[in-house]
Amino acid sequence: MRGGGLTLSDNTFILITGRTIKQGMASVSGKKSDNYKKETSYVEVSQNVLDRLNIEEGEAVILKSEAGSIEVICKAADLEEDIVFMPYGPTANTLIGTDTGGTGMPNSKSNVVRLIRKEAQTN
């Protein structure tokens, strides 16, 4: 089953947020810089998923979770089809909810998000 027991439909995925080397380099070079925004404002998606959803690499997509919604550029990546990946940062944190399950830790690697073509959203 896609999603480790979570029920995922064709356009829902588990959002994995995490570190990238470029995000790390940008975070110590000025948090308010355009480069930091660029390195933290995209989503990586499996090429198979992009093909299935008829999305081109570099296209803007909408990601929605229970906590919020963002518009980001998508990149093709070597990922399984049940996950999408975003670098840590304020853009990804818009999608992360505040429930910590009594631990203090939000679900920064287990949030379900819906991926929608921007075109489909505006139509």
């Binding site: 080397i21 790390g24 308010k32 990922l79 399950g101 939000p106 690697k109």
Partner: protein
């Protein structure tokens, strides 16, 4: 013009690996040359003297003394303040922050609560068998990275301590077997001998299956799979673990940020105990600590209060409760009425809906650089740069304390002094 001066064995404070072999050449209070720094560290040093904060109250520039006084006033008048951050400052500043929390009846929490805090909760339940990075470098013949990607988060870790390090008995990459468990094939996974893809959110099940197999039991599964893996694949991984002489497991946020939270690390720590039941075998584990002194934040808090993070002083004695006194919960539940952020950027790093409360309450930030939190903070206190213009103590991810040396001059005092001065103003008011 001054002469070029060389400083050797400088410690980089970016990540928990705390590389202490940085060489800098300095002239006219500027870094002219850098050696041994990783890609992130190099950027950190290049940017160190740029983008610096200045004393500000409500967006107006003022004097350093005025911002210290304003911070003391806000904390003194608060009924339930939050002191948060701490993982990118020195142990001396952390100690003073605990004293300030006691003085003001505050909640005090570090970024550990959104990092390895769940792993620390597991340590309290089951204990963790660990070692220094030097010991692992010298002896470990099987290295496991579980939900951790040091190639991108701790770029020199593999060269100095693990896969590629030259140890006393283990000399190079071919002397060590490396396995990566992860939900995606990270750059670290690409360096491993074996990448085992775990179904998202199923780390606990896989760890428990490994425990059962190591203890000679057979886990059951209706479809013959656990965590997306055939039982035979899990059995093969269990055999590899059993055949190690000195195994080491480095774990990352892949275990702490997923659904089972501290139960994942509880299972991993229990696996280590099971593996150590055979006297012929040694296994140790270690969290891949992110911020430079986040390990120190837990050590200092535990030494000062008895608890590693999520501490509340409203009753004048320390109480500990993750999920209640942790920053995300306190902010999301709008329970705090003022915040003192020390060397951190919660507006950038916490869930947006939690961080939003900081805009509704008086917020003080103590940080050398501008960030998303200083953008709207009521009070901005500039500070010296840890390990560059300020000295102090930091703890590496294996809990080895290292002394930071200052090699440049700064116009602003360090965090330790700033926090102490705020405390003194409140105490003597």
């Amino acid at each position: 013009m001054t002469e070029l001066k060389t400083f050797k064995n400088i410690t980089c404070t970016f990540c928990g690996a705390l590389c202490d072999n940085i060489e800098v050449k300095v002239k006219d209070n500027k870094i002219e040359e850098l050696k041994n720094a990783c890609a992130i560290s190099r950027k950190k040093y290049e940017h160190a003297l740029k983008d610096r904060t200045v004393p500000m109250i409500n967006g107006e520039e003022t004097t350093y003394q005025k911002v210290i006084e304003k911070a003391a006033e806000i904390l003194k008048n608060s009924k339930n303040p939050l002191i948060y951050g701490l993982s990118s400052t020195t142990a001396e500043a952390q100690k003073n922050a605990v004293k300030l929390a006691e003085l003001t009846g505050a909640n005090i929490d570090s970024t550990s609560s959104v990092c390895h805090g769940p792993g620390t909760m597991a340590k309290q339940l089951v204990g963790m068998v660990t070692a220094t990075l030097g010991e692992i470098k010298n002896r470990s013949d099987l290295m496991v990275f579980w939900g951790a990607n040091p190639v991108e988060a701790h770029p020199n870790h593999s060269k100095r301590y693990t896969m590629l390090a030259e140890g006393l008995f283990k000399k190079n990459r071919s002397d060590r077997e490396v396995i990566v468990f992860d939900v995606r094939k990270t750059p670290t996974a690409k360096m491993a001998d074996q990448f085992i893809r775990v179904e998202p959110g199923k780390d606990f099940e896989l760890l428990m299956a490994l425990r059962m197999m190591i203890n000679g039991k057979e886990p059951e599964s209706k479809n013959g799979k656990i965590a997306g893996l055939d039982l035979a694949e899990i059995e093969a991984a269990a055999e590899k673990l059993k055949s190690a002489n000195y195994g080491s497991i480095f774990y990352g946020m892949g275990l702490t940020m997923t659904g089972a939270k501290y139960m994942n690390t509880w299972a991993a720590m229990s696996l280590i105990r099971d593996l150590n039941n055979d006297q012929q075998r040694r296994f140790v584990m270690m969290p891949m600590r992110g911020h430079g002194n986040v390990a120190g934040s837990e050590i200092t808090m535990a030494w000062q209060t008895g608890y590693p993070f999520a501490v509340n002083f409203s009753k004048a004695y320390p109480r500990y409760n993750p999920g209640e006194y942790t920053a995300v919960d306190l902010l999301a539940n709008k329970e705090v009425d003022a915040a003192f952020i020390i060397a951190s950027d919660p507006m950038g790093n916490l869930p947006k809906k939690a961080a939003a409360h900081l805009k509704d309450i008086p917020t003080i930030i103590l940080d050398p650089h501008w960030n998303f939190t200083s953008d709207f903070a009521d009070v901005v206190i500039p500070s010296a740069l840890k390990g560059i213009t300020a000295s102090g103590t930091v703890y590496r991810m294996d809990h080895v304390p290292l002394h930071l040396r200052a090699f440049l001059e700064d116009e602003w005092p360090n965090d330790e002094e700033a926090v102490a001065e705020i405390g003194e103003l409140i105490e003597n008011a």
